[in-house]
């Protein structure tokens, strides 16, 4: 019975989008807000309803599905518009609609002064639709629709304040870089189609183990192609460079799209297609490697940023790196768990940061903030909660439970090893450092900029709700030596396989203690460097090797520059020298040749009779000589 309501989840925001897109200009702000935020809220309520139903009476085959219509039918290729809800997509749908609704409500107040109010909500609604389609898609083509749709919305929203060309540049950068991944993914779809004759996800997953052998080249290639799509969307190495720039969009956008949902689409894709990855150890390794490298690189970069949103952006990249690491380790549920927790606290952090930025009259620079602890208490407390969760403050924060799980699996799972574990641990340390740094710079110390706005209730209530979840959502999944609660992984094990541990591993407690230690160490270090002895930091920054390192980290490890030189410049150069089309020159050459010939021949038409007679005689001689020769 619930099957039939499935379509309503994306339908509400779709209707919202259509209404706002067509009549947004004529609607009052009030109604715009009602439609924009209301439609997503309705979806959220419906999702809760359906989700509860799903949890209480899980269908026998583990999923709800609803076919709306056959998209098209060519030869044997018959993709359908079918929605498919199982435990994995339920988690995602829940996060999307629930956090989406909160962010929409927040935006009602946050965007209140913006002239393009309706456009904002239209785009946001469209984003929610696309994202829902992405996670609800029954086949890869429909998933691809959602996949590209979210890309479009991301583009539209990053460049929301279009008057500034640099926003437009950031938007295009985001779209094009993710498009590179998407293209690889499209090729992956072609391979899958010719291997399985279908793009239906359940069919492919069912057929894969019987069709492909473990470690076969085709498996690896396909897995890597899909991964490339995920890497692009999720801003992982080497396609991560777009995300920091994407912060040009309004803060709710950063919260919804570039933290909570869209950027985790890659995680969803890999988790969804886990059967393929499981069959390819190489691909698994690559996933883990990418995750590890990304979390480290982004962590260092986050350490050096002064723009509060860029810190959060790098931290997002880093946290998604953890998720990829988990996926690569085969810790599927851990990855999804971290995704959910991350969605809560990162949305919270972005929204809070947005509130701060708005309060300080669009000041992004953390070094010009400070002392906001007392002035914006609600923001401060919620931000503190979010930061605690991000830094994985032991026991009390949800982030601890999700991250600790990954750290543990980095060591203990079948694919885990010391290197990965050390990287993850060091990443946790970095996270603690930059989180504390951000917190200290923003809320402690002297006030450097006056507060001009105070957040309204519509903004603080969502923050509070998110803060609640950031603290307590972790308790649904507790380590087995500490409560041993597995509500979340039990749910997901309907879809995702259990993580296989190495034989005979003990001492989880030791690792947990180590993780705690690292976290506290990080916090302390940040406390020293940016609160107790900021002059030491300055001195360190000025010292010769460190300043280069600092700049290197600050610029995101030089990826942008490398791409600029290797890819952008050559293409632009070729385009600019060939603006007038060399091939056209060839045809113009023919035309010029004709004109030259014409001139030369016109010269023979001199008007002189004697010349004509000579011509005649020459002609006669030619004819006679042809006859003689032949």
């Amino acid at each position: 019975m619930m099957d039939h309501l499935l379509w309503l989840i994306p339908a509400f925001p779709l209707v919202g989008f259509i209404l706002l897109a067509l009549w947004g200009k004529h609607l009052s702000r009030f109604w715009t807000a009602i439609i924009g935020a209301g439609s997503v809220s309705l979806s959220a309520i419906l999702t809760l309803f359906i989700g509860l139903n799903f949890l209480s009476s899980t269908p026998a085959d583990g999923h709800y599905s609803q076919t709306l219509w056959t998209w098209f039918e060519v030869a044997t290729f018959i993709p359908k518009i079918t929605l498919y809800l199982d435990a994995l997509s339920l988690v995602f749908v829940f996060v999307i609609t629930f956090i989406g609704a909160l962010i929409h409500i927040y935006s009602v107040a946050f965007m209140a002064a913006d002239k393009d109010y309706a456009r904002f909500f239209a785009c946001m609604n469209l984003f929610v639709v696309s994202m829902l389609l992405l996670v609800l898609a029954d086949n890869l083509l429909l998933l691809y629709l959602g996949w590209e749709g979210v890309g479009l919305c991301s583009y539209l929203l990053i460049g929301f304040w279009y008057e500034n060309p640099s926003n437009g540049y950031a938007a295009r950068k985001a779209f094009i870089i993710t498009r590179i991944g998407d293209t690889a993914m499209a090729i992956g779809l072609f391979v899958l189609f010719y291997q399985f004759g279908t793009l239906s996800i359940p069919d492919i997953l069912a057929l894969t183990p019987t069709t492909w052998h473990e470690g076969a080249t085709i498996t690896t290639v396909t897995a890597l192609l899909l991964l490339a799509g995920g890497v692009g969307k999720s801003a992982q190495l080497p396609l991560q460079t777009w995300l920091p720039d994407a912060m040009a969009g309004p803060s709710p956008v950063s919260a919804l799209i570039h933290a909570a949902t869209m950027v985790t689409a890659g995680v969803y894709l890999v988790a969804r297609m886990h059967v393929i990855f499981q069959l390819s150890p190489i691909a698994q390794m690559v996933v883990a490697g990418i995750g590890a490298a990304t979390l480290l690189i982004a962590g260092f970069s986050a350490l050096t940023q002064y723009d509060i949103k860029r810190v959060l952006a790098y931290s997002t990249i880093s946290q998604i790196g953890y998720m990829f690491l988990a996926l690569g380790l085969g810790a599927w549920t851990a990855a999804i768990f971290h995704f959910m927790i991350h969605a809560f606290f990162k949305a919270l952090l972005f929204l809070a940061a947005g509130a701060v930025i708005e309060a300080l009259n669009h000041e992004h620079n953390m070094f010009r903030m400070g002392g906001l602890k007392s002035k914006l208490p609600v923001i401060f407390w919620t931000f503190l909660v979010g930061s605690a969760s991000l830094a994985a403050l032991p026991i009390i924060s949800a982030g601890f439970y999700s991250k600790d799980q990954i750290l543990w699996y980095a060591w203990a799972s079948e694919h885990g090893n010391t290197t990965l574990w050390l990287i993850a641990l060091f990443g946790a340390f970095l996270t603690a450092v930059y989180t504390t740094r951000m917190l200290l710079l923003t809320f402690w110390g002297d006030a450097k900029t006056a507060v001009s706005h105070y957040p309204s209730k519509l903004m603080t209530i969502p923050l509070a709700i998110l803060a609640f979840f950031s603290l307590f959502a972790g308790f649904i999944e507790l380590p087995h030596n500490f409560g041993h609660l597995t509500l979340f992984s039990d749910l997901l094990h309907q879809v995702l396989p259990e993580t296989i541990l190495k034989a005979g591993i003990h001492g989880e407690l030791l690792f947990q203690l180590l993780a705690m230690l690292v976290t506290f160490g990080g916090i302390y270090m940040a406390y020293i460097l940016w609160y107790r002895k900021p002059q030491l930091t300055e001195k360190l920054k000025q010292s010769a090797p460190l300043i280069h390192l600092y700049r290197f980290w600050f610029s995101g490890w030089g990826f942008d520059q490398v791409y600029q030189v290797l890819l952008v410049k050559p293409v632009v150069f070729i385009a600019s020298i060939n603006k007038n089309d060399v091939i056209d020159k060839f045809y113009q050459g023919i035309a010029i040749l004709m004109v030259r010939l014409n001139r030369a021949l016109s010269f023979t038409q001199s008007g002189s009779l004697r010349w004509y007679i000579i011509g005649l005689v020459v002609g006669a001689i030619l004819i006679l000589s042809i006859q003689v020769i032949l």
């Binding site: 056959t70 998209w71 098209f72 629709l145 479009l152 279009y162 008057e163 293409v571 060939n578």
Partner: protein, 532 residues
């Protein structure tokens, strides 16, 4: 008879518009609108009628036929027939025809009668091309559409119109004459083989041509079609013609004229010379891929709005070439989808360029920017169209390109991968277009009108069709399925045949026989019962 009426209607309407234009300026518009709309309604009702049959029973390939002797000494007849492909393209022709009339409603201010005369005669020529089943007649219509197009560009174009008009005319005429040679070649070869001298398409289908001769004849046909499409080394007329033509001219050029090239390959090159087509397929696909990337890079570098759009056409037409020579149902269906969706999306972009020109009096991208503020409706439509052009799922172009690539992937993996990379480039130029025109700081401080009601109608019809095609393209696919199936069957057998041919071995009698059999199946079996 409907087929003849359609052409007659357009030609008659054109003459009437010309005459009425002498004493009234608004009459020709209405005449043209009525004429094209009548044709559109006729065709649409026929299509809906047919689609019922399509869904119920196994559809017949040929739906309607009309034949009348013309120059009987040469075996030339006035022979029209339509199958799904023709029908679809005819519907498209009349649809875009209506839009062409509407979009020049205000743009054209002088010589209105003659303008609409030309417009309707172009449409007549194009319709003729899509219906002609006699090679001579086909060539005849092929050329008939040129002259009015030449006038349209040459008289109502912008600054550099004469150059563009010459270039357009000479390119197409040169390639067309080569095709004429090939047509005559096949005519005489068939005639001397069978003693039956005829230009009848269906009879020529069964003709036996020595492989090396077939190769050259096929090249003759290909040149004409490839220039029209256009594929990269032959594309250089297109940016000039597109950018100088008036809006309706660009619309028809991009929407219809280019499609005649693809139609020609599907209708003539593949069925007449399957073996030779098989031989050149890798090269043709390569050219297609080069076109995709080359066109995209050039599109990126343009500063003239219409030139930019024109080069995107070059890029998109590369997909068509790629798809056609993949010879499988997926790709061919994709090609047909691409024909339709490209016509709509690029046509709409050209209409938009025309609207911008009307308002800003320039096509230079460097002089635009920030127009969103004043024209959010147009900006939103532009984004949708740019997304269509870069192949965003949910819009028709995506299905077209995806099917083409999916089909081509089977035929040639590496070329398809290269072609897929074209999708990245298409994103680059499409977004640049949007950025340059609508985003950024506003450079124009004069107040500019957003869409008028006429323009909204125009755009909405195009945008809705593109969304419709993106979400439920099945009617289109069903309509052309019989035609595509037949083509594919031809090549399933031809594959062995071509293979043997490449190895220069004696052709076994068995596959050849199969080829003949399939070829004759392309001929209407009991068309007479279907003649209406």
């Amino acid at each position: 008879m409907i087929l003849v009426y359609l052409i007659g209607l357009l030609m008659g309407g054109g003459v009437l518009a010309l005459l009425m234009g002498q004493w009234n300026n608004s009459l020709p518009k209405w005449i043209a609108l009525c004429t094209v709309s009548t044709g559109f309604i006729l065709l649409l009702s026929f299509w809906i009628d047919q689609s019922r049959i399509m869904n119920t029973l196994l559809p017949e390939t040929w739906m309607m036929e009309y034949r009348h002797d013309w120059i009987s000494t040469f075996g030339i007849s006035f022979h029209l027939a339509i199958d799904g492909l023709s029908l679809l393209l005819l519907v498209l022709t009349f649809f875009l025809g209506i839009l062409a009339v509407l979009c020049s409603w205000k743009e054209v201010k002088e010589r209105i009668g003659f303008y609409h005369f030309n417009l309707l005669w172009i449409l007549a020529g194009i319709s003729g091309v899509f219906m002609a089943m006699d090679l001579f007649l086909f060539y005849f219509f092929w050329e008939v559409m040129l002259i009015p197009m030449y006038f349209l560009i040459g008289i109502w174009g912008s600054e550099n119109r004469e150059y563009a008009a010459y270039k357009f005319f000479i390119f197409t005429q040169a390639s067309g004459l080569l095709m004429l040679l090939a047509i005559l070649g096949i005519y005489f070869i068939h005639g001397s083989n069978t003693g039956n001298y005829t230009f009848n398409y269906f009879e020529l289908l069964g003709s036996d041509i020595a492989p090396n001769v077939a190769f050259w004849l096929m090249l003759g046909f290909m040149v004409a079609f490839v220039v029209k499409l256009p594929i990269v080394p032959f594309h250089s007329w297109l940016p000039d013609a597109h950018s100088e033509a008036p809006t309706a001219g660009s619309l028809i050029l991009a929407g219809l004229l280019l499609k005649t090239g693809a139609y020609g390959i599907l209708r003539f090159v593949l069925p007449l010379f399957p073996g030779a087509a098989q031989l050149v397929a890798p090269w043709a696909m390569l050219l297609g891929v080069i076109g995709i990337i080359y066109g995209a890079i050039l599109a990126y570098s343009q500063t003239d709005l219409k030139r930019l759009i024109a080069y995107t056409s070059v890029s998109h037409m590369g997909f068509i070439m790629l798809g056609i020579f993949a010879f499988n149902e997926l790709a061919l269906q994709g090609v047909v989808m691409q024909l339709v969706t490209h016509a709509i999306s690029t046509g709409a972009l050209f209409i938009m360029a025309g609207m911008l020109k009307e308002r800003l009096h320039t096509r230079d991208l460097r002089l635009m920017g920030g127009l969103w503020t004043q024209m959010p409706q147009m900006g939103a439509s532009a984004i949708l169209l740019a997304m269509a052009s870069l192949g965003l799922p949910g819009l028709g172009n995506f299905i077209a390109e995806f099917l083409i690539l999916l089909g081509a992937f089977k035929a040639n993996v590496w070329l398809t991968i290269l072609a897929t990379c074209g999708l990245i480039f298409s994103a680059i130029y499409s977004l640049r277009l949007i950025q340059q025109v609508f985003l950024g700081a506003s450079k124009n401080l004069d107040p500019i009108q957003d869409f008028s009601w006429r323009e909204i109608t125009l755009m909405a019809s195009l945008l809705l069709s593109i969304i419709w095609l993106g979400l439920y393209p099945q009617p289109v696919i069903n309509t052309v399925r019989p035609t595509i199936k037949k083509l594919e069957e031809l090549f399933l057998i031809e594959k062995e045949y071509g293979h043997i041919l490449i190895n220069n071995k004696r052709i076994d009698s068995l596959p050849e026989k199969n080829v003949r059999q399939v070829k004759t199946e392309l001929v209407p079996s009991n068309t007479h019962s279907y003649v209406r």
